[in-house]
């Protein structure tokens, strides 16, 4: 747990370049407070995914420093990355569920990696699935679920470890409008429990609906940082 008052995500002049002279992110400085909800937006290729990948240490910055939960990601050894990722939940557009495993097993994966005793894991998975309304589907396989249900499973997996940060990369990109609201409400609910949430999306209707802080990226740079219009821990009905 990061120290009280310390921002869980801080970026100082961060750049990421995959080819010399071409930046996926350029000179990005950012501070995300504990429990804050932030939308990352921008056109395709603006750097939204790269920014999220830097936070969960899937990438290392080419320049600058990133502090995630007090750890400098740029200097994190390979052995320390798993420990950081257990404190950061991640959700993707394509769900990333294991098709040959049941819903319960998919969610339990996040608990298995830390050796959570089976009985405790089962009860935590059940509670988490209940909170996303899928407890009755726990023995089903992902392919028998709808897109919205699969994303709810992915969300349950990301949250079952009670992470301090939740990152979502276009979590509703594959869903119809009704399911989109359903998933977004669940993500917002997580932020009301104190989890810092960063959602990458190019769906402006979502940004308008929830009125949260918006960081707009353009060609790898921060083009706009609009503060939240509603209190950061307020639930959205």
């Amino acid at each position: 747990m990061s120290a009280t008052g310390e921002s869980p995500v801080r970026m100082y002049h961060v750049s990421k370049s995959y080819m010399a002279g071409q930046y996926a992110l350029h000179d990005v400085s950012l501070d995300v407070s504990r429990g804050e909800f932030l939308f990352l937006t921008g056109a395709s290729g603006a750097g939204k995914t790269t920014l999220l990948e830097l936070i969960f240490a899937a990438e290392v910055p080419s320049e600058g420093q990133i502090l995630v939960l007090g750890r400098n990601v740029a200097r994190l050894g390979a052995g320390a990355i798993p420990a950081l990722r257990r404190r950061v939940g991640v959700v993707f557009q394509d769900f990333k569920l294991l098709q040959e495993r049941t819903v319960e097993e998919n969610v339990r994966l996040a608990l298995d990696v830390v050796g959570t005793p089976r009985r405790e894991a089962r009860s935590r998975v059940f509670a988490m699935l209940k909170s996303v309304g899928l407890q009755h589907r726990r023995f089903h396989h992902p392919l028998s679920l709808s897109g919205g249900e699969q994303q709810r499973v992915a969300l349950a997996r990301a949250l079952v470890n009670e992470p301090e940060i939740l990152l979502a990369d276009e979590p509703t990109g594959n869903l119809d409008p009704e399911l989109t609201i359903e998933i977004m409400d669940l993500i917002v609910k997580a932020s009301t429990r104190g989890t810092t949430v960063m959602v990458a999306t190019h769906d402006h209707s979502l940004i308008e609906r929830y009125g949260k802080r918006v960081l707009r990226l353009d060609a790898g740079r921060i083009a706009e940082d609009v503060p939240s219009a509603v209190p950061s821990t307020g639930a959205v009905s």
Binding site: F56, G79, P82, R86, K96, L98, D112, G115, P117, R118
Partner: protein, 300 residues
């Protein structure tokens, strides 16, 4: 249940799941290890039994020093003591002319063959029994050299050529078995490594997700290592059963043939420790194969 134990159980469950999900490639790896160990095990069994037969020959091996008839009996006994002190000699039995005649008559079934002769033509001799460590071609050569020119010894008879030939055959078989084991072992290693590499490729999505949820490198790798070890263990067990079955099947024929040639044949199967070693070498092959794949592959 503590977390460490839970992690071990999860690793086992994941490795068994891996074997089940990739049943065809896993069966191939198990079969390959089994074939390698059947060949290596059979070769080792053959060599050990050949060496055993050589040992039995060695125990029966004795040299005969025929004595000059002109040597007086008291000097013959003195000569026996000199020979007994020679290198590699365990004990010496003096066979007098009379004893030699009695033995001959016993073998020939009567005295008709020598009936026309005025005197006993058979010489007195020394029956030289060797110590186990001297029952080699080199040992016999050393003894031969030390007895050479000893007054009173007419001729030294032994089956050195035969022993040398057999020892060479055993050494050759041992080298061949070793070479076969190494070559096939390497082949099995590569096949197991490729099987695990295929498994890694087939499960790349799972590896990606495990990395995302914070699985440590050990958590990801151990199930694959267990998978290789379990495959090897199963291959080893199959090999042991096959070698045992083949041994029991051919044993009566080989035993009969050997009894005809050497008089007796105590052929033996692997001891319990050797059997366990065979099975464990399969597990070792599997483990080494998976480590090879993991070192070359990308796991989290």
């Amino acid at each position: 249940m503590n977390r460490g134990l839970m992690l071990i159980l999860i690793a086992f469950a994941n490795s068994l799941r891996g074997i089940r999900n990739a049943a065809t490639t896993s069966s191939m790896a198990i079969l390959t290890i089994a074939i390698v160990l059947v060949l290596a095990g059979a070769a080792s069994l053959l060599v050990e039994n050949m060496a055993g037969v050589l040992e039995e020959f060695g125990a029966e091996l004795r040299l005969t020093a025929y004595l000059d008839d002109t040597v007086p009996p008291e000097d013959q006994r003195h000569l026996a003591q000199t020979v007994a002190a020679a290198p590699g000699v365990d004990r010496v039995v003096f066979i007098s002319k009379e004893e030699a005649l009695r033995r001959f008559e016993r073998i020939a079934g009567g005295d008709e063959l020598l009936a026309g002769l005025d005197e006993n033509p058979l010489p007195a001799s020394l029956e030289i029994h060797l110590r186990p460590e001297a029952r080699t071609a080199e040992g016999i050569a050393i003894l031969d050299a030390s007895l050479d020119g000893l007054p009173g010894i007419d001729e030294l008879a032994h089956g050195q050529e035969w022993i040398e030939g057999y020892a060479r055959a055993v050494a050759l078989a041992r080298t061949a078995a070793g070479t076969i084991t190494i070559v096939l072992g390497l082949a099995a290693l590569l096949i197991v490594a490729n099987t695990i590499r295929l498994a890694l490729y087939a499960r790349r999505d799972e590896l990606e997700i495990l990395a995302l949820v914070g699985a440590s490198r050990t958590f990801v790798r151990v199930p694959f290592m267990l998978e290789g070890t379990i495959q090897g263990l199963l291959g080893g067990l199959i090999a042991l059963l096959v070698v045992f079955g083949a041994f029991e099947l051919v044993l009566p024929q080989v035993r009969t043939a050997l009894e005809l040639v050497v008089g007796r044949a105590d052929l033996r199967f692997f001891s319990t420790a050797e059997s366990i070693r065979l099975v464990l070498s399969g597990a070792g092959l599997g483990l080494l194969g998976s480590i090879t794949a993991l070192v070359g592959g990308r796991t989290a």
